[in-house]
C-alpha cells in the first residue's frame, strides 16, 4: 500500500454537480450499488454496475484519480481472482474480482466527491449517530467530529510519514535491506516517531478545541445546512427503486454467474 493509493479516496475540492449532491444522497448511491453487487455474483450485473458509475466519475471530474485507486487495487484483485480460482469456477472468480472493483469504485467515488465537512454534517443529522455519541462520549456531536477529524488528518499524517522516512534515511537507515525480519524491524524508527507525533497532535488539538469552547451546548447550529434539492430527490427515488428491484429479483429468480 503506497501513499498514492490514498489519492483515490481523498476529497477533491471541486464544484461539479456530483460534488454538490447531498452527502446522504451520495451514500444512498453507494448502497444502491452495493446491494445488487452483493446479492448477485453475475458478470453482466457487475459490468453494468461498473459502467453505470462511469458517468458520475466523469461528471465529478475524478475519473483520473479513480484510475489511480484502481491501479493500486490491481494487486488485491489479483489475489481475489487467484483465491477464488481454487474455490470455484473461473467464471465466479471473474465475477468476484469484478465485484471487488465495483465496491472499490463506489467508495472511491463517494470519498472523492464528499468533503469531510459535509460528511460530518450528514453524520450529525443521523439520530442513531447522535444517540451513540451521547452514550459513549457524552456529547451528541463528538462522534461525527471524531470521524471527520480522523479523515482530515490522514493527508497531514502522510506528509509527516514522508518527513520521518527522509529523516531516518539521512541517518543511514535503509528500509529495503536485510532479510524479512530485519525489514520489518527497519520500520520501528519510522513508526515510533509517527505514533508520537499523532498522539502529541491530538493532545494539542484537544486543548485547542477546549479553549474554543468545544463541544458547546446541546442544540449547536451550523453555518452550512444540508438541503435536499429536487435532483437529490430524483436520485434518491432511482436508488431506492434499484435497491427494491434488486431484492425483488433476488427473492423470485435465481441469477447464474453468466
Amino acid at each position: 500500500m503506497s501513499l498514492r493509493t490514498l489519492e483515490g479516496f481523498k476529497f477533491s475540492t471541486l464544484k461539479t454537480p456530483v460534488h454538490l449532491l447531498d452527502p446522504r444522497t451520495k451514500f444512498l448511491i453507494v448502497i444502491a450499488v452495493l446491494v445488487p453487487a452483493l446479492l448477485f455474483a453475475n458478470i453482466y450485473v457487475m459490468i453494468a454496475l461498473l459502467v453505470s458509475q462511469l458517468p458520475l466519475l466523469l461528471v465529478g471530474k475524478v475519473a483520473r484519480r479513480w484510475a489511480l485507486s484502481l491501479r493500486a487495487g490491481v494487486f488485491l484483485s489479483g489475489l481475489i481472482f487467484v483465491v477464488n480460482l481454487f474455490t470455484g469456477s473461473y467464471l465466479s472468480a471473474i465475477a468476484l474480482t469484478l465485484r471487488f472493483l465495483v465496491l472499490l469504485t463506489s467508495f472511491s467515488l463517494f470519498f472523492m466527491t464528499t468533503s469531510p465537512d459535509d460528511l460530518g454534517l450528514a453524520l450529525d443529522r443521523i439520530g442513531a449517530v447522535r444517540w451513540l455519541s451521547r452514550r459513549w462520549l457524552g456529547y451528541p456531536n463528538a462522534l461525527s467530529f471524531t470521524f471527520t477529524t480522523a479523515v482530515r488528518l490522514v493527508p497531514t499524517l502522510a506528509v509527516d510519514a514522508q518527513t520521518v522516512v527522509d529523516a531516518q534515511r539521512s541517518r543511514g537507515l535503509e528500509l529495503d535491506k536485510g532479510n524479512l525480519l530485519k525489514r520489518v524491524r527497519n520500520y520501528i524508527p519510522i513508526l515510533i516517531p509517527l505514533l508520537l507525533i499523532a498522539i502529541r497532535r491530538s493532545l494539542e488539538l484537544a486543548e485547542a478545541l477546549e479553549s474554543r469552547g468545544f463541544p458547546g451546548k446541546e442544540g449547536r447550529t451550523s453555518l452550512f445546512q444540508l438541503k435536499l434539492r429536487p435532483v437529490d430527490y430524483a436520485i434518491v427515488a432511482v436508488s431506492l427503486a434499484m435497491i427494491g428491484i434488486s431484492f425483488w429479483i433476488y427473492f423470485h429468480y435465481k441469477i447464474p454467474v453468466l
Binding site: 509527516d160 518527513t163 520521518v164 527522509d166 529523516a167 531516518q168 534515511r169 539521512s170 541517518r171 543511514g172 537507515l173 535503509e174 520501528i188 524508527p189 515510533i192 516517531p193 508520537l196 507525533i197 502529541r200
Partner: protein
C-alpha cells in the same frame, strides 16, 4: 566539495520548487540559506544528501552524482539535521539515539560508544545519556537530534532551522560550535530565518526567493540591503537598521553585527570627545 549545477526541481504535484541553482559548498565554508516560507530552502537541503534528485541539472558530492549513489552512502559525508526533532527521535535512551546512525554505518561497538560519549559531552548532553529523549524539553530534543547527526562526523553539516526553540545562551553555544566545525575544515550550511543570529555569525548568505538564488555574498553586504531583504520576506537586523539611520554622521550603512558597530561607534565617540575638548 558539493557542486550544484543548474539544478531545477519540480514536485510531482507540478509545483516548481527550485530553478537553475548553481552553488558550490567546500570544506571550511559557512553558508546561511535564507528566504521566505516556501522559497525552496528545505527542498534545496534535501538535494544535498540525495533525498531528492534534481529534475534538471545535477548535484555532485565529492564528484559523485547523487542520482547514482544511495542516500545512506551520501549521508556518511553529508549530515542533514531536520528541523523538527520529533521526526527522528525513537530510541529508549539519548545514548541509543545518538548511536543509531553510527550503527547503521557499521562502526565497531567501541568506536560507537566513544563517539557517542564525545558528542554528548560536546553538546552538553552527557547527563542525559541514559534518559529517554521524549522526557527532554523541546530545545534539548533538538540538540539530541543534532548530536545524532554530528556523532557520525560528516564533512558537510546541513542544519535546518537550528535556532528555533533555543534560548539565547544555547544559540551562543551553537554559534561557537559551528565556528569550531568550519574552522576545522568542515562545511556548515544553515537554513534559517533568524537574521540576528546570521548577522552575528557573519556567514556567506544565500538569499532564495521563489526557488531562485536572488543574492549571495557576505552577511553584512546582503542583510543591509533593504530591497534584497524584503524580497526574501526578512527584515534587516537591528544593527543594520540603526546604522541606516546614522549615515548622516558619516557611518557606513552595511554594519550588521555588534562587534563592528562597537569599533565604529567608539571611533566616532572618541573623535567627538577630542573635538569637544578642543572647543572648550
Amino acid at each position: 566539495m558539493i557542486t550544484l549545477e543548474k539544478v531545477s526541481f519540480t514536485y510531482r504535484s507540478g509545483q516548481r520548487a527550485l530553478q537553475d541553482i548553481d552553488l558550490n559548498i567546500a570544506g571550511g565554508d559557512f553558508i546561511a540559506i535564507m528566504g521566505e516560507n516556501g522559497a525552496g530552502k528545505t527542498t534545496l537541503a534535501k538535494h544535498l544528501n540525495g533525498l531528492l534528485k534534481p529534475s534538471q541539472g545535477r548535484v555532485l558530492v565529492d564528484g559523485e552524482d547523487t542520482r547514482k549513489v544511495s542516500v545512506a552512502r551520501l549521508s556518511r559525508k553529508v549530515g542533514l539535521v531536520f528541523q523538527n526533532p520529533d521526526h527522528l527521535l525513537f530510541s529508549e535512551t539519548v545514548k541509543d539515539e545518538v548511536a543509531f546512525g553510527l550503527k547503521n554505518f557499521g562502526f565497531a561497538p567501541e568506536v560507537v560508544h566513544n563517539q557517542v560519549m564525545r558528542t554528548l559531552e560536546a553538546l552538553g548532553l552527557s547527563e542525559y545519556a541514559e534518559t529517554s529523549p521524549f522526557l527532554l524539553s523541546g530545545g534539548e530534543r533538538k540538540r539530541v537530534a543534532l548530536a545524532a547527526i554530528l556523532a557520525t562526523e560528516p564533512d558537510y553539516l546541513i542544519l535546518d532551522e537550528p535556532t528555533i526553540g533555543q534560548d539565547y545562551q544555547q544559540k551562543e553555544r551553537l554559534r561557537n560550535f559551528i565556528l569550531q566545525l568550519y574552522s576545522q575544515g568542515k562545511a556548515v550550511v544553515m537554513i534559517t530565518h533568524d537574521v540576528e543570529f546570521v548577522a552575528e555569525s557573519n556567514p556567506k548568505v544565500i538569499l532564495l526567493s521563489q526557488g531562485r538564488i536572488v543574492a549571495q555574498g557576505p552577511a553584512d553586504s546582503v542583510l543591509s540591503k533593504d530591497e534584497l531583504v524584503k524580497k526574501a520576506s526578512l527584515v534587516r537586523p537591528q544593527m543594520s537598521r540603526l546604522f541606516g539611520e546614522l549615515t548622516k554622521y558619516g557611518l557606513p550603512s552595511d554594519v550588521v553585527d555588534v562587534h563592528r558597530a562597537r569599533i565604529l561607534l567608539e571611533e566616532k565617540l572618541s573623535e567627538a570627545k577630542v573635538r569637544v575638548a578642543q572647543n572648550s
